[in-house]
């Protein structure tokens, strides 16, 4: 018998054994986040502290924004590469939908690409990230969905406003309200929530609640994703600017430069 073919088959089988990220994958829908990824946000916050010390003499700073990368991994990698070339960027915000189906494999691929960033990054959960068991993975990999930090006396509030995928669970407006209570203590306050308040998932009451919180706290910019098309404007014709970050699949991301008296938006085409 010709033994070449079975030996070749065996060779490829063994080769693939060693080339797998996870040699044995039990389930696509599994939610077992690797231990080293469980403190991703904490590690990024530590990096951010170092950056804040480095630029303590500057009175302005810049951060980059990307959203809705889904499974467009080439576009996301290109964005990461472009951000790495801009030394003025202090950190990166991802506006949600880092996955398409909330699968562990998609969270892993996103994590690997974002590891190439030489800045810290912060995420907000999107509706796609909640599919399958994505919410469990998100909480394990990044921590609580609602959180905030202060950088250069500006407050950044990350707020989960996904409604449909969470069985009509109401966004935690009380938490948001409490976070905004002391906004006058900061130079500027930014709220990052995946779904724009005029979008499909919001009822008129949700829209009114969100808009009222933004108005009351005089938020500098309310930042969103979800629609994939870039938008910047006073959607409700009041004093609050709303930014919808375009998706990398539409060849776009943006940067915000925060100066004492103004906020400057740059949109970058890939």
């Amino acid at each position: 018998m010709n033994k070449t073919k079975p030996i070749l088959f065996l060779f490829f089988a063994i080769l693939s054994l060693f080339s797998c990220e996870r040699v044995f994958e039990y389930n696509l829908y599994s939610a077992d986040v690797k231990d080293e990824r469980k403190f991703t946000r904490q590690k990024n916050l530590e990096k951010l502290q170092d950056i804040e010390e480095e630029i303590q003499d500057q009175n302005s700073f810049k951060f980059a924004l990307v959203s809705d990368s889904h499974t467009y991994y080439n576009s996301l990698a290109e964005v990461v590469n472009l951000i790495n070339q801009d030394e003025e960027v202090s950190f990166v915000v991802h506006g949600g939908d880092m996955t398409d189906g909330g699968l562990i494999a998609e969270y892993s691929l996103f994590y690997h690409i974002m590891e190439e960033l030489n800045r810290p990054y912060f995420t907000v959960i999107g509706n796609h990230d909640c599919l399958s068991n994505g919410r469990v993975i998100y909480n394990d990999q990044y921590g609580p969905e609602n959180y905030s930090f202060v950088f250069k006396n500006c407050k950044f509030i990350f707020f989960n406003d996904v409604i449909w995928e969470l069985n009509y669970e109401e966004p935690d407006y009380i938490w948001l309200q409490n976070e905004l209570l002391n906004s006058q203590e900061y130079d500027k306050t930014f709220v990052i929530a995946h779904i724009p308040p005029w979008s499909d998932q919001f009822t008129p009451l949700d829209t009114w609640a969100y808009k009222t919180f933004m108005d009351t706290a005089n938020v500098a910019v309310s930042i969103h994703g979800h629609h994939h098309d870039h938008y910047m404007g006073n959607y409700f014709e009041d004093s609050i600017p709303y930014l919808v970050i375009g998706a990398p699949s539409k060849d776009i991301f943006c940067k915000l430069t925060i100066e004492p008296d103004t906020v400057i938006l740059e949109t970058i085409k890939l």
Binding site: A105, N133, Y168
Partner: protein, 186 residues
């Protein structure tokens, strides 16, 4: 007729499987049990119907899978007495149950038409090697198969085709399995 007095011939009924299948991993569950059927007299086509269980310990949440897998054996080589080697190519369809409402076979009414594609069914592709040890026709277990296979699925392949950032190592994983053959003839 030349049968001895105490020879017992067992005839398989149509729905009685030819073998019992046990598998570890391979995206159909951590622990998998199934039944296998020979689909043709040449025994180059098999059908396995099975159930996979993934415990909370393995996946953080408990997941149940049911699947049907077709396997094609293009060649079988005789290695030495009673040992046979076959490459195997398989396609499977699986349905997963992990609780909650965020995996579905039909788009829930919550969403507008076309908002999401149904995500509870997956198609799997696998290839590997099977070694069969033939024990005998008179024994309860006629043969034992050991196999190793590498597996992927429709979603992972779509990532691979869409992006150069995704490598083979991201989309393939391994499975190990054993079949206990109870009926060698249909």
């Amino acid at each position: 007729m030349g049968f001895g007095q105490d020879t017992i011939i067992r005839y398989k009924k149509t729905l009685v499987p030819n073998y019992v299948n046990f598998q570890y991993a391979g995206n159909l569950g951590a622990y998998i049990i199934g039944v296998g059927y020979y689909l043709n007299p040449k025994r180059t086509l098999d059908l396995v119907i099975g159930y996979g269980y993934t415990s909370e310990h393995k996946a953080t949440i408990r997941i149940h899978n049911v699947f049907a897998k077709g396997i094609y054996f293009p060649y079988t080589w005789s290695l030495k007495k009673r040992w046979f080697l076959s490459p195997q190519l398989g396609v499977a369809i699986s349905r997963q149950f992990s609780g909650g409402t965020n995996t579905f076979t039909r788009l829930p009414k919550t969403y507008p038409d076309g908002y999401y594609a149904p995500n509870a069914y997956r198609f799997h592709l696998n290839f590997g090697l099977r070694v069969r040890k033939s024990i005998g026709e008179d024994t309860f277990i006629k043969a034992v198969d050991f196999y190793i296979e590498t597996t992927t699925n429709d979603l992972y392949l779509s990532y691979l085709l869409k992006s150069t950032e995704v490598g083979l190592g991201n989309v393939f994983s391994m499975a190990l399995g054993v079949n206990l053959v109870l009926f060698n003839k249909n």
